[in-house]
Amino acid sequence: MIRSILQGIAESPRFQQGELYGDNILQIAEDKFSQVNDVTKVDGLFIVDEDNIMTTHIVSEGNRSFVNIDMSFRNYISETRDTLQPVFSEGFTGIDGTFRIALTVPIINSDSGEYIGIVGVTIPTEPFFSLYGNIHDINSQFLVIYDKKGTLLAVGADESLLGLNFFEDVVQTFINHNQILTNLTQNLLKGISGSAIYDYGRGERITTNYPVFINDKTPYFIQIVTPTGTIYSEINNVLFGEKLQMFTLIGGTVAAITTLIMFLIKWNIVLDNQVKKRTKELRESNRQLTLSNQEIAQANEELKVHDKLQREFINVASHEIKTPIQAILTFSQLLQKYPERQTEFTPAISRNSLRLQRLSNDILDVAKIESRSLKLNKEIFDLNQVISNIIEDHKSIILKKNNKVKLLFYPSKEILLVEADKERIVGVISNLLSNAIKFSKEGEIFVSTEMKDNNNNNFHALVTVKDTGEGIDPEILPKIFSKFITKSFEGLGLGLYISKNIVEAHGGKIWAENNNKNGNHGAIFYFTLPLINNVKSSNNSIDK
């Protein structure tokens, strides 16, 4: 602003024509001086001619005016003249002792370019720079302003330092030769921004560099010095406010979290109870499932066993049916071919026909048992007599087969009258005897009968068939009265199943055991039948 006013003076017609003094010039100078002072406090406006002689000098009240003196001693004059550019001067001490800076603008004829002189103002640094900040109070933020040589133009720390060079001993002593500040100032004068914290004995300060750029030049350099205590107290104030807010916030948050935790604990208890309940239900469900699985597995196992037995039965049945058929078929063909050998072939045909008949009877009996349509044609007979007859029949069979087995019968002393299906009971005894003969090969088979009282005057007959064979396979023993159970290569394994059902249909019981006592071996089969007779002594008819 000041520079533009000075520029206006330099470019005004009178000045352009070299008129640098006189009343008119004086009038203009005064007007401009007043105008400049509206902007900032200047204490002098001067005009020098081409020979550096001051031609006009307007000063503020109380100041001395110097006219016709050679101003060459002021660097800013020669600099303005040499550069033909406006100059912001370094600081200098006036004759009256006031420390000032000067702003000068060259007066150049705009047509010819001829140098005419200089118009400039002198500005006391203290009021000037105080416009920009505190340059008096060392205890609060203040400014320190340097010219490019490091001369202090304004200094809030101590006014007595004004006009002194920063690097002079007085100033360095003042700052206790603080190297941090010295380095910072050296950087500032090189145009480098930056800041530093230091303490040269008057409290900790933070100082920031601000080079002042005017037309790409840096005539002045500013340091803003701030005692850190003020910053900290401000920070404290801010922090305290923040802290309060934080406490409030934390308090609120803690209350919210507490409520949330209480809610979560409550919820957790509810969930825990639910989980316990569900776990219990699941355990029960699992237990049931395990039981069901075990039952299914057991049923499956039983089905597998049953399935295997069925397959084996079909296989054995196939063999049992086809074998006599094959014999009958072949002997019939032979009989046709060799009719003269009739006596040789017909017994074989007859034998195998009977075998087929027995087989078909067994299958029919099982069908009747399973359909609960087994009918008993009961009659009263002496069990001992019937057994005796069966023994005789089997003895003749043994003889025919050249078997070495001996059959021994020990009947009870009493007559054992039973009311039963004779044919069926004969079938049961024959089956037991046939088995005993089949598995004995040699040795003795003992058949005995006894009358037993079950203590209620209900008498029953006990029939025992004991052989001296290999005994019953322990694996088979528990299921020996089941269907399809056989260790023989002949037969369907139905005989004992049918016998059991017949005995039970008469109200009796049948069971088996191995004779392992006293070094014996072999199987013992027992069955009972209810008796109807009174006790009678019989002839002791042991049949050997």
């Binding site: 063999h319 086809k322 032979l334």
Partner: protein, 121 residues
């Protein structure tokens, strides 16, 4: 050289062993019949029989075991299995393709035997 008509027959059913022997002999075959595989093996004559007819389910030693023993003694002999059981034929077939199911007429049995005997080794 006259044709070999010797046949080994093993079947634990006495009537079957007898009936097949008589039936085959009526067609000119010479049959050695056994109801025990142990006895059959004990009396086995290598390079004597043209064909063996073996029941599959025989007590003491079954037809397959007997097959293996016979095969050790005689590489040339034709071996047929004969059974009234519904056996697992795919197992038996690993040993012999010749499987005869009972009941069978003498004529069909003779045909089957002749076919098998004419098969090249």
């Amino acid at each position: 050289m006259s044709e070999n008509k010797n046949i080994l027959l093993v079947d634990d059913e006495t009537d079957i062993a007898l009936a097949f022997s008589l039936g085959l002999e009526s067609y000119g075959f010479l049959v050695d019949a056994y109801t025990s595989s142990i006895k059959a093996l004990a009396n086995f004559k290598s390079d004597f029989y043209k064909l063996a007819l073996l029941d599959i389910k025989i007590p003491e030693m079954d037809g397959i075991a007997l097959y293996e023993k016979i095969r050790e003694k005689d590489k040339k002999i034709k071996i047929c299995f004969i059974s009234a059981y519904d056996v697992d034929y795919h197992i038996v077939k690993e040993y012999s393709e010749c499987i005869i199911k009972k009941p069978i007429t003498i004529e069909d049995l003779v045909k089957k035997i002749n076919t098998e005997m004419q098969e090249k080794d």
